[in-house]
């Protein structure tokens, strides 16, 4: 074995060690998040119920909120009054998992720091893998999975850094990442190696990387949608005079308002949809070069198409009276389900031209 091959083997080994280490750190982050939620449950905020009860009792004076424009350079700056659209609930966002408690917040911050660390380690693992094979680190499902979770966490941390209200995703995200990495390192593991000639193309960089980004970000959107459905359920229960269970109250209470969650997932999905369109088109161009036809209804192509149409249906639903809200949310979940099936299902259960991806 020559020297270069030995170096590569070392790198591949380093990559594996890094991935395992990141799993350990993610596990710590997971427990820190749990602690955050537990400590947070001790706060008794009760904002949602209060807001909703007052709403139905007194006929809403809460509709007008003042958005104070910051800055003292100009005295007497005009204040902008915002009004929610009629017919929407006007509920403030929950305080987050920490519930405004000091200890909860501390654990939450620890969890995020650990997530940052785990992300760095995992990203190192992905890069080492790429170096060991001297190509894009997404030639098989194992590599696809580790890159996928790295990107999902990266997107989440980026949103946090941009001061978006996304801390509520933390626990679910870390849990999913652990699941994803667990499956990747056990059942999907493939030794680091070169690719068959059909994959030697710069389209591998373009098409597959955007596919991974789309999946990872669609995933964040799907989490938002799912929580929206729960939270919406909870809010309407309170609004109609019901009392949700204690556990449900404790958890739902701390999430953002249903409307915020809905807006969050819409923005995410709408932002990624053009990229997903691009991914499919890039794939078609590549297929044109590799297989002599740009569209041939190969199972992978079919499911990408189905996913695309399902997201288009979701975007339409949002613009159609009688379909926005919960119905549109179900469509969004179905669409993400299609994406997941395209990834796991088609690779594992269906054979097609894409099946060299190497499970």
């Amino acid at each position: 074995m020559n020297l270069a091959a030995a170096t590569n083997e070392n790198l591949a080994h380093t990559s594996n060690v890094l991935i395992y280490s990141s799993m350990a750190v993610y596990t710590l982050a997971f427990f820190a998040h749990i602690a955050e939620w537990i400590f947070g449950s001790r706060s008794k905020v009760g904002r949602t119920a209060a807001a909703l009860k007052r709403d139905s009792a007194t006929g809403s004076t809460a509709k007008a909120q003042v958005a104070q424009q910051g800055g003292t350079a100009v005295l007497d700056r005009p204040k902008v009054v915002t009004r929610s659209a009629a017919g929407t609930r006007d509920v403030p966002d929950g305080p987050g998992a920490a519930g405004g408690t000091f200890k909860g917040d501390l654990w939450g911050r620890i969890a995020i720091s650990l997530t940052v660390l785990a992300f760095a380690v995992e990203a190192g693992g992905v890069v080492a893998r790429a170096l060991s094979v001297q190509r894009a680190p997404w030639g098989n499902m194992y590599e696809f999975s580790i890159t996928f979770s790295t990107v999902a966490v990266g997107a989440y941390l980026l949103l946090l850094a941009l001061r978006k209200n996304v801390r509520w995703i933390g626990l679910l995200l870390v849990t999913t990442v652990l699941l994803d990495l667990g499956i990747a390192t056990t059942t999907l593991y493939t030794d680091s190696d070169q690719l068959v000639p059909a994959l030697h193309s710069y389209w591998l960089w373009i098409h597959v990387s955007t596919a991974i980004i789309c999946g990872a970000v669609f995933y964040l959107g799907a989490v938002g949608t799912l929580l929206y459905l729960f939270r919406d359920n909870y809010e309407s229960k309170i609004a109609s005079g019901g009392t949700p269970g204690r556990f449900a109250t404790s958890v739902m209470e701390r999430l953002p308002a249903a409307k915020s969650l809905d807006t969050f997932s819409y923005r995410i999905n709408a932002a990624v949809f053009p990229l997903w369109t691009f991914t499919i088109i890039a794939g078609a161009i590549w297929a044109g070069d590799a297989w002599g036809r740009y569209w041939g209804w190969d199972p992978k192509e079919v499911w990408s198409f189905i996913t695309w149409v399902a997201y288009a249906a979701y975007l339409h639903a949002r613009a159609t009276a009688g379909w926005k809200g919960r119905k549109a949310a179900y469509l969004a979940l179905i669409a993400f389900g299609c994406w997941l099936f395209n990834y796991y299902g088609v690779n594992i259960f269906v054979t097609g031209k894409h099946s060299y991806a190497g499970v």
Binding site: A86, A290, W297, V302
Partner: protein, 562 residues
């Protein structure tokens, strides 16, 4: 959008109208007027409504599913046959439902044709409406600006006309389309959203039409070429050929190419030993009937492109060079015979057919046939079975057994060149009376019994097979795709919004400025933008000292009456 479909819409009057060109939803229960025209109109309205478009989209994705789970004729007919043999009960049902041809089935076509009729029926009026909106001016300010999603007000000592003029200049500078209407300035921005949305939907139509043209006019064929041989693009030269229903033979691009060399390398170590690493076909091609010869390397992802026709590298294999001498020792046959690979290590089989020119020991004319079995890397003696251990030419061995008699090629039935039909032939026997079989290394010769001549394994050439295809209108499909992405980005990332600035003299002689904004959806950006504008306008019209401090934000009356 939401704020347009609710009670607000009535409050806002014209101001909230036409912020998009989406068709208005009518309730499904609205019963049509009697008569054919009434029904037709009703049907057309339903078909072009957002709700039906949504349902059709959903059906389209649902309908695409079976085609990904059940083998398709268009992809692999052999697989379909295997499936039919294995599932004799469901297959007839599937056949009836066209599940083996989902993407050309009646029902799938019906869904997408309806969807595209709906799409056209939607785009045409929307485009007209949008052009109307571009020609017209943003609607004037609603009576009560306080009802809008973002609102601000202040009192200033500047004259109302002065404020309006400043507002007009400011809004124009920020690229709002604006004009003065009565006591207020009306402005609107973000028309690219609508334009992008229309562009996207039109691009979808372009893509579909391009795809359909591609299917109708396409041609596609395969050709196997041994190193040193060539191909010129006429129908007769193809090994197999398929074309769309509107294809014409004259559509074939005139060009030709020779395969100079084929190079394949394979992984030598590790668990993926034997996996192909590079495939390169070195060709010399010339365009037109007698163009200048040029060189090119064709790889799996890098086809040779000649005037819209693409030549793809498909597969490769080995072609042992065989020479045959007759009873007189005269060479009657010399050819590189392509054999078909049977596994990943290129264990190959095929047939060698000596049609004419051969005479046996007695000088009688007959034909010869050999079954050939070839491995590029032989495992070694003694194992009995002969399977290749590696795809490269490390230790090639050719095994032959022979027949004489009639090859049956004149029977009129098409013959598979890779298979021998020994029904009218007699086996060569060795001295023990067993079938004559021999393993040969390159350069070795197998003697035929009783002075019937000899067969020599001279060496090995490689062959490559190519797919030569032409799919017109791919350029259009690509243009449509790019336009679709651009349109989508415009449609999803741009907000369309309106701003009004009203300035009137109040009862006490001080000017009251009111500003309000309305977007298609509630967005945090809208109040921010309004605040920015207000701040900018504020430099021209600063706040007047307040006689009695009453901040406008505590004006509860407007929101409370529900």
């Amino acid at each position: 959008m939401s704020n347009l479909n609710t009670t607000d819409e009535r409050d806002l009057g014209k101001a909230g109208e036409q912020l998009s060109t989406a068709p208005r939803e009518e309730s499904a229960s609205s019963v049509p007027a009697m008569g054919v025209i009434g029904w037709t109109r009703w049907f057309w309205r339903q078909l072009t409504s957002m709700r039906v478009a949504l349902i059709l989209l959903f059906l389209l994705s649902l309908g695409a599913i079976p085609g990904s789970l059940i083998p398709q004729n268009s992809v692999d007919e052999l697989k379909v046959q295997t499936f039919k043999d294995a599932h004799t009960t469901v297959s007839p049902v599937y056949e009836k439902l066209q599940f083996f041809d989902v993407y050309s089935s009646v029902w799938f076509s019906a869904i997408y044709i309806l969807l595209f009729i709906s799409l056209i029926g939607c785009i045409v009026p929307r485009t007209g409406q949008f052009v109307g909106q571009l020609r017209g001016r943003p609607p004037g300010a609603p009576r009560k600006l306080t009802r809008l999603p973002a609102y601000t007000t202040w009192r200033t000592e500047a004259e109302p006309e002065q404020v309006r003029e400043a507002a007009l200049a400011l809004l124009r500078k920020r690229r709002f389309r604006s004009h003065e209407a009565g006591d207020a300035v009306a402005a609107e921005k973000g028309y690219l959203r609508e334009a992008g949305n229309l562009l996207f939907h039109i691009a979808l139509i372009v893509m579909l039409v391009a795809f359909a043209c591609g299917q109708l006019f396409k041609s596609e064929g395969g050709k196997l070429i041994v190193e040193g041989d060539g191909f010129s693009n006429t129908l007769t030269q193809y090994d197999n050929f398929k074309s769309g229903s509107l294809f014409d033979n004259d559509d074939l691009t005139p060009f030709s190419f020779d395969l100079d060399d084929f190079k394949g390398t394979y992984e030598r170590n590790g668990p993926q030993r034997g996996t192909p690493r590079t495939y390169e076909a070195h060709v010399t091609y010339s365009e037109g009937a007698d163009g200048k010869p040029r060189k090119k390397v064709v790889e799996v992802n890098k086809p040779l492109v000649v005037d819209g026709t693409k030549v793809y590298l498909n597969a490769h294999g080995y072609a042992p060079v065989i020479s045959v001498k007759d009873g007189d020792g005269k060479e009657v046959y010399r050819n590189a015979v392509p054999l078909l690979p049977q596994d990943n290590n290129v264990t190959s089989t095929g047939a060698i057919k000596v049609m004419d020119g051969y005479r046996d020991a007695d000088g009688k004319k007959t034909q010869l046939g050999f079954q050939a079995f070839f491995v590029p890397t032989f495992a070694g003696e003694g194992s009995g079975t002969m399977f290749s251990q590696f795809p490269a030419l490390d230790y090639p061995v050719l095994a032959l057994n022979g027949y004489y008699g009639s090859l049956g090629v004149d029977s009129g039935l098409p013959q598979n060149v890779y298979q021998l039909d020994p029904s009218k032939m007699t086996e060569f026997k060795d001295s023990n009376g067993d079938q004559l079989k021999q393993r040969l290394r390159p350069g070795e010769t197998m003697k035929l019994p009783d002075g019937a001549g000899s067969v020599t394994f001279e060496g090995v050439e490689e062959w490559a097979s190519f797919q030569i295809s032409r799919q017109p209108a791919s350029g259009w499909a690509l243009t449509g795709a790019v336009a679709a992405i651009a349109g989508l980005a415009g449609s999803l990332f741009i907000q369309r919004r309106r701003v009004w600035v009203r300035a009137v003299r109040g009862a006490d002689g001080v000017t009251v400025v009111e500003m309000a904004g309305l977007g298609r959806s509630e967005s945090a950006k809208l109040p921010e933008e309004l605040a920015d504008l207000a701040v900018a306008l504020h430099t021209v019209a600063p706040t007047a000292p307040d006689p009695e401090p009453e901040p406008p934000s505590e004006e509860p009356a407007e929101g409370a009456e529900k």
